[in-house]
Assembly symmetry: C2
Homo-oligomer: 435 residues x 2
């Protein structure tokens, strides 16, 4: 084959960067066959040149300043694996696109915050911007929604988008342990970072959801509009209670469009939900991710696989490179940025759902009456209520209830009525039941 | 937008053809936005022009002879929805590609039998040949494997590829009814055809598997090498027995490549299997399809959704059209036909698996001894054995066993030893346990 290779530069040589180099080496021949030409690394940049990464980087040119990769004339595509929404990753990405080079990135924070500006730059330069690895690791779900469901108006996109949270929740389910100790265990095993807040507070899932929502609904990315609840408040007792009711607890990101008074609005939220055990997302455990897209013709489609890890993430990065080598370069967000709709955030108060609510209360007379009165006054209809026996650590008792289907604003109102009550020892935990 | 529309002709106006017209009408604006230009039907052909299909075909030119669609100069892409491996569908497809038009087809039989010749014609003419709708209905699994896993050497592709069989098996599970009556019910509900043999004998699943195997393993399609067992022999008692052991029964198509003495060999087979209830394929019920692809970097990926129906199939057809409108036209089987490997069929006798074997025997002394002696003589190690009580219809009794993991050839040998025995009232049913 005498066709010119696709020449790439890699910025960032952590586990994913090393994984990309290893993948390109291991699967060299089949990649060249599928891409129609070889894909060759020409230059790399990282913080420490000498570090042992298990791969040989000596054949590649080295740049101390990663932005210099964008200026090299032996590079067609820059692969950005540095991370961080701003800073060097963004500077490099801008420089690469401006310089007429394609860009492949695994950086969900950067795409969620600056994806539209980068896509505009890519469209202006007529080059590719691809970010399959930014959402759900090795699962080709950006492609699945951008191209697989392209004939459909989507009614809903939702799924399990954060492997750390899913690992913690399914471990808690398995072991009966509480959140704090499971998190420590997850950190020991490498499933959670030393600073886990981006994951467990739902930010990482929100980044991914905002990207999928933009592609799925033809909307401008609006990360700030994502309503986010993390999983810190979920206790072992909640998981046990959910189990007894026929549910598991999963952190779910979901997005849909509703017709508001002034036109369509976009609802995006990330929150732990009760998921019925016969729902396709319920058996998704450990660090696995899964995304459901519901189209008006396709019906419900499920994409599932490894949500993180160097191998799966490298698989997604190189799939993007193969697409670029095949000259498959259309609008990064499926339709050109200029034609994406600016959808205002939807206000979900009128939406109806069943809800699990757990209170931690002082064990004294009248508490149940106080809670149930608030529910009554806010028009929340209780389907079932369980009061657990006194916990070992003092006078705290758990009261869990499941509501009948009703407007979300009624539950919000009930909790407002209870705000400041000295019967409650902690803020109540509200978990919607995924329908 | 002043860009020229992509002009298509549709051959075959059954439920899928009408579905494509309805989809293009319903989602017209978003399709134009995503495709970068409108997609317009210019001409159609079917058997009966007057038939009411619930869509208005009067705006389109009509051809009595569908092959004439390929000669029209107001057509860029022909959509073939006629069906049948040969005959008019093949004639039209050849004429379209030869005439420099793109071809989109939902015809799994034609692609399984003639896909390579058609792909060669498409490559020679520099036009698109796409067949997402031919495999697993609305699930973008051709794209998922061709593009989503393109960076990987696949270790295995397998899944539930026939909605009729999956509906029947999961209904039998649900109702406890036997195969024959469940088939009649499925026919009444439209889940099985009047002549169901293509589905229930596994041929349809084999067509789809052969297509996926070619794309996944870079191999020339070899439909004739698929080893096929259908589901006619599966009884209610087998499903009950599987359930008691922690399994469900699903018709599984699976393909992999093994290193033989003379080089790599391709194993393709379709057979009912016992699937552990915690396997991701076990909860796939009704007419749903699901495909698993295991890559050397991606790990296990699952694609799941509606395996048939006019909406999902139309969704896949139009997704192909949008790709073509976006000028995404690379090799139909991922790599050019000339570079696909001709892989000889693998001989699986040395492979090891656990197996469920059910015998129907005459209820008389010595039968169990005869069966267990054959197992011993063929080196099959029995993990568990259950003899059911006498059935109501005479002297027939079921004996079910699960073997320890062992070479397939030993089970084959054991059954050969029992061949012709007048203790057996029916050929034994052998169901591998999916690992």
């Amino acid at each position: 084959m005498s066709i010119a290779p696709l020449r790439i530069a890699i910025a960032g040589l952590g586990t994913v960067g090393a994984g990309v180099i290893r993948l390109l080496e291991t699967n060299r021949d089949l990649i060249a066959a599928r891409a129609g030409r070889p894909i060759e690394v020409t230059a790399v940049s990282a913080r420490d040149r000498a570090k042992d990464r298990g791969v040989d980087i000596s054949p590649f040119a080295w740049e101390d300043d990663m932005t210099a990769l964008a200026a090299r004339n032996d590079v067609d595509v820059v692969v950005e694996l540095v991370g961080g929404a701003d800073g060097p990753a963004l500077a490099l990405s801008r420089a690469a696109l401006k310089g007429g080079k394609g860009l492949v990135t695994a950086n969900k924070a950067m795409v969620a915050h600056h994806g539209l500006a980068l896509a505009e730059a890519a469209e202006a330069a007529g080059v590719a911007l691809k970010f399959e690895a930014a959402v759900a690791g090795g699962i080709p779900v950006v492609k699945g929604i951008r191209e697989g469901t392209s004939a459909n108006a989507l009614t809903k996109v939702y799924g399990i988008l954060n492997g750390t949270c899913n690992y913690i929740l399914s471990e808690m389910e398995e072991t009966g342990a509480d959140f704090a100790e499971t998190l420590i265990e997850a950190q020991k095993l490498g499933y959670a970072e030393a600073d886990p807040s981006f994951d467990i507070d739902g930010i990482d899932a929100a980044h991914k959801l905002a990207i999928l929502a933009a592609i799925g609904f033809g909307a401008r990315i609006d990360f700030d509009a994502v309503r986010v609840n993390g999983i810190r408040q979920v206790r072992a007792a909640d998981i046990a209670q959910a189990d007894a009711l026929g549910f598991v607890i999963r952190l779910i990101g979901e997005a849909d469009v509703e017709e508001g008074e002034g036109g369509p609005c976009l609802l995006q939220r990330v929150r732990p939900c009760l998921v019925a055990k016969n729902h396709p997302l319920a058996p998704v455990d450990g660090p696995t991710n899964a995304v459901v897209a519901e189209g008006n013709f396709s019906g419900r489609l499920l994409f599932q696989g490894a949500g993180a890890g160097d191998g799966p993430t490298a698989s997604a990065v190189v799939a993007d490179l193969i697409d670029i080598a095949r000259s498959e370069v259309s609008a990064p967000f499926s339709i050109p940025v200029a034609r994406l709709a600016a959808l205002p955030p939807a206000e979900p108060g009128h939406r109806t759902e069943r809800t699990y609510i757990r209170f931690t209360v002082n064990d004294r007379p009248g508490v149940l009456a106080e809670i149930t009165a608030a529910m009554r006054d806010a028009d929340v209809s209780i389907e079932s209520l369980i009061q657990h026996g006194r916990s070992r650590e003092g006078g705290e008792v758990l009261v869990a209830m499941v509501t009948h289907e009703g407007p979300e604003r009624c539950v919000t109102r009930a909790l407002e009525l209870l705000e400041g009550s000295d019967s409650l020892t902690d803020p109540p935990l509200v978990l919607p039941i995924l329908s």
